[in-house]
């Protein structure tokens, strides 16, 4: 493999691994905050137990999120030195502010975990609020750099590569910053909520005492409510992000849709794959006019096709599939949350019936599916930008390291990620087996 491909594979793996923990690291604190608030308002101890148990899980996940985040942050300079040279000059601001968000999270996480018994109740809530704030702020700030790669702004560049006329704040608030960062944050909330719903649904599959069933039902209801709201908002914000693609990265939208000819009344292609030989989408379902309407709200909107751009700047064709998977999962989960909550309202709450197995099993799958959606989304965003690292400014080949020692290091880190994944699962199962929810319930009542 040549160095550029290797660097991409290496960094993509690091990022793909980190994203799992980072996403949950943003999503779960929100659930903890909500549980703590409900607890303080309603006085129902079950919510305090939820907050406590989720914090435990969150702390373990953070044990991987922090080092993997450190790895990704430093690897940027190791694998993409050419890229970071421009980043340093133009868009280092969000990176730097992110450090403060990171500090905020780390400080209050330690306070929440190691000093909870010495703190008044209200301060516990404040601490966990700051943890959640730090987490989501980190996500938004880091995404700012990624959005800038997609829609660079705030500087000018001479043909010889010299950068001048820098405006760090314009770079920060680049055209896609608000919509894409918002999408990142909301989908993280959505995934955190579905992850909690997955666990609650799994627990409800087995026979349990009424007390425990009631506990898990509360968790399921709460997480599904959050999940429904967040899935809806993320669908809307995803739609908005697509419109930004239409304005600022037309070849990415064209590749996502497998659109080759520039046209008005452009059709939306769902499913299928882009055939590189015939240059068309095969086996997809075409909805006439829909793409034009989605791109700018009018059927006669002209959508640019790939032929509009030089061939060597076309993104890879597989991004069509990635895009479909991302949108498909999002839509599916939105529907699932709606169905489950409707069922809950008409059958569980009003008639005291249990959830049917098929629905519980679907809900068990919702968390992992949501995470997959996030991964597909990131791979889509980054491979859809190829061959560029900074859109129309720097190619990936120019950004990559010239160092040829990547192979062995890649293997070393693959081993590390496998090890950490296995350990995380072992630790979580060991902890929750030893501390079942019944134990926490006795403690609070006793």
């Amino acid at each position: 493999m040549d160095t550029v491909v290797l660097a991409r594979a290496f960094f993509g793996t690091s990022l793909g691994f980190h994203i799992i923990f980072a996403t949950l690291g943003v999503g779960i604190p929100l659930m903890i905050v909500i549980a703590e608030i409900i607890h303080q308002v309603k006085g129902d101890n079950d919510y305090a137990i939820m907050a406590k148990r989720w914090t435990k899980a969150f702390a373990v996940l953070l044990g991987v999120a922090i080092p993997s985040g450190t790895i990704v942050g430093v690897q940027l300079s190791l694998l993409w030195p050419g890229f970071m040279e421009i980043v340093g000059k133009v868009i280092s601001l969000p990176f730097q502010i992110e450090i403060f968000a990171f500090f905020l999270e780390a400080l209050f996480m330690s306070i929440y975990v190691y000093a909870a018994d010495r703190l008044p109740r209200y301060f516990r809530l404040i601490s966990v609020f700051f943890v959640a704030l730090g987490a989501v702020a980190s996500a938004i700030l880091i995404s700012a750099v990624n959005t800038w790669m997609n829609t660079p702004a705030g500087f000018k560049i001479k043909p010889d590569g010299t950068i001048y006329d820098v405006n760090p704040w314009d770079a920060f608030f680049n055209p896609s910053f608000l919509s894409s960062s918002f999408h990142v944050a909301i989908t993280a909330y959505m995934t955190g909520a579905f992850a909690v719903a997955s666990v609650a649904a799994f627990k409800l599959l087995k026979k349990r005492s009424d007390r425990e069933r009631a506990y898990h039902l509360k968790g399921l209801f709460m997480s599904l409510t959050v999940a429904l709201v967040m899935s809806f908002v993320s669908a809307v914000s995803g739609h908005h992000s697509a419109q930004i693609l239409h304005q600022h990265s037309p070849e990415k939208l064209a590749a996502a849709e497998g659109l080759f000819e520039t046209q008005r009344y452009a059709p939306l292609a769902i499913g299928g794959y882009t055939d590189p030989k015939t240059e068309e989408v095969k086996y997809g379902i075409e909805i006439p006019w829909a793409l034009s309407w989605l791109a700018a709200g009018r059927f006669d909107t002209e959508v640019k096709g790939l032929y509009e751009f030089p061939r060597e700047t076309w993104p890879p064709f597989y991004v069509h599939t990635l895009f479909n998977l991302m949108v498909g999962i999002g839509t599916l989960l939105l529907g699932l949350a709606a169905v489950a909550l409707t069922y809950w309202w008409f059958f569980v709450k009003k008639r005291g019936k249990p959830f049917p197995k098929w629905l519980l099993w679907s809900l068990v799958l919702s968390g992992p599916l949501s995470m997959l959606g996030i991964e597909f989304g990131w791979v889509f965003s980054c491979s859809g930008r190829q061959p560029w690292t900074i859109y129309r400014v720097q190619t990936t080949a120019e950004a990559a390291t010239k160092n040829e020692d990547l192979g062995v290091l890649f293997l070393l880190f693959l081993f590390l990620y496998a090890l950490l994944s296995v350990l995380t699962v072992l630790i979580l199962t060991a902890y929750f087996k030893r501390n079942p929810v019944s134990k926490d319930m006795e403690k609070i009542q006793g």
Binding site: V64, G69, V74, V90, Q96, I111, A115, K402, L409
Partner: protein
């Protein structure tokens, strides 16, 4: 003062703060391993300090990298290229250490493994970190047209690397002993205090000797640095004086009570001593980031970026200050935390 000099001053300040906190952090990990289940509770005290703080220290390390990229992007390019292997190893060790720190808190069965991992990485990580100093002094980077690469073979067979490592490790253990002596005293653990105090007595002169040897056996490529260091003599003389005062204070009587030593004063005076030496070293290193390839002037960021970064540092630190204060009160001062069990 030019913007470039202001930026490198900020950078050195961050490096200095991190090297103090990093020494204490990694040193505490090492001592927690050595004194695991020790009757004096020395290991437990080290671990009690480490549990809530390692994450903050880790964040500071990320801050160093981010600040460097922001202030000296070209420096990030050069060091990013040549430091691939050593920094990747640091990241690998750091990841395992961090993960086990967290895991062992949740599941007791992992405690033993955690102590060993954190103890050993507590020596390896600082050794790799300090390698950046000899590399920056020149002679270990080959330039082939556009590509720069690290001469790993030359580096690992060079005595100057090992002298730096020796200096780094003795300093780490000296500083962490002094800190933990103070922490033990605040926690009212006189036996643990005495243990760390005797470690410090042993390590103090070793740090001085290893510093001296490092200077004496600098490779010929570092001739420029030696010459510059000679110009900054005054800082090193002051630093030596500070060392003598700090070291002597280990034997001063306790205030108003029987007992020996004033660990808080010793610690602060020692940090001051390292501060003076760092100023001397930092001044001598100017204007180079990596000799002879890169100066702070060539590596410097865009002016506009520099100013917005500076403003954000001030705003960010001001916002975070109360958080740090609360943190300090809870984990370094609160008797309920320090004197549990």
């Amino acid at each position: 003062m030019s913007e470039e000099v202001l930026a490198i001053l900020m950078m050195w300040t961050f490096i200095f703060i991190y090297s103090i906190f990093g020494s204490i952090d990694f040193g505490a990990g090492f001592w927690a391993m050595i004194y695991n289940n020790h009757r004096t509770m020395a290991g437990r005290i080290a671990n009690r300090f480490l549990s809530p703080t390692w994450e903050i220290t880790n964040t500071f390390l990320v801050l160093l990298v981010v600040a460097f990229v922001g202030f000296f992007p070209k420096g990030a390019y050069t060091l990013g290229t040549v430091m691939l292997v050593p920094v990747s190893l640091i990241l690998f060790l750091l990841a395992i250490r961090s993960a086990f720190m967290v895991f062992s808190y949740s599941v007791q069965g992992y405690r033993r493994t955690m102590f060993i991992i954190s103890g050993i990485s507590g020596l390896l990580i600082p050794s790799l970190l300090i390698a950046v100093l000899p590399i920056s002094q020149g002679g270990f980077i080959s330039v082939d047209g556009d590509t720069q690469s690290l001469l790993l073979g030359k580096l690992f067979t060079s005595p100057t690397l090992y002298l730096y490592v020796l200096f780094g490790l003795t300093s780490e253990l000296y500083l962490s002993s002094l800190f933990l002596a103070d922490y033990a005293r605040v926690s009212n653990r006189e036996e643990a205090y005495r243990l760390y105090r005797s470690n410090a007595i042993l390590l103090g002169p070793l740090t001085l000797l290893s510093a001296l040897f490092t200077l004496l056996f600098m490779p010929p490529e570092s001739r420029w640095l030696i010459d510059n260091l000679m110009d900054q003599k005054i800082w090193f003389i002051l630093s030596l004086l500070a060392f003598l005062v700090a070291y002597a204070s280990i034997w001063w009587p306790k205030q108003n009570r029987p007992g020996i030593g004033r660990p808080r004063f010793t610690l602060l005076a020692t940090v001051f001593q390292y501060g003076l030496a760092s100023i001397g070293y930092g001044l001598a290193h100017l204007p180079y980031i990596v000799f002879p390839e890169l100066t702070i002037y060539e590596a410097f960021t865009a002016k506009e970026t520099f100013y917005s970064l500076m403003i954000m540092y001030i705003v960010g630190l001001a916002i975070l200050a109360p958080g740090f204060y609360i943190f300090w009160r809870l984990f370094l001062k609160d008797k309920r935390y320090l004197q549990q069990d």
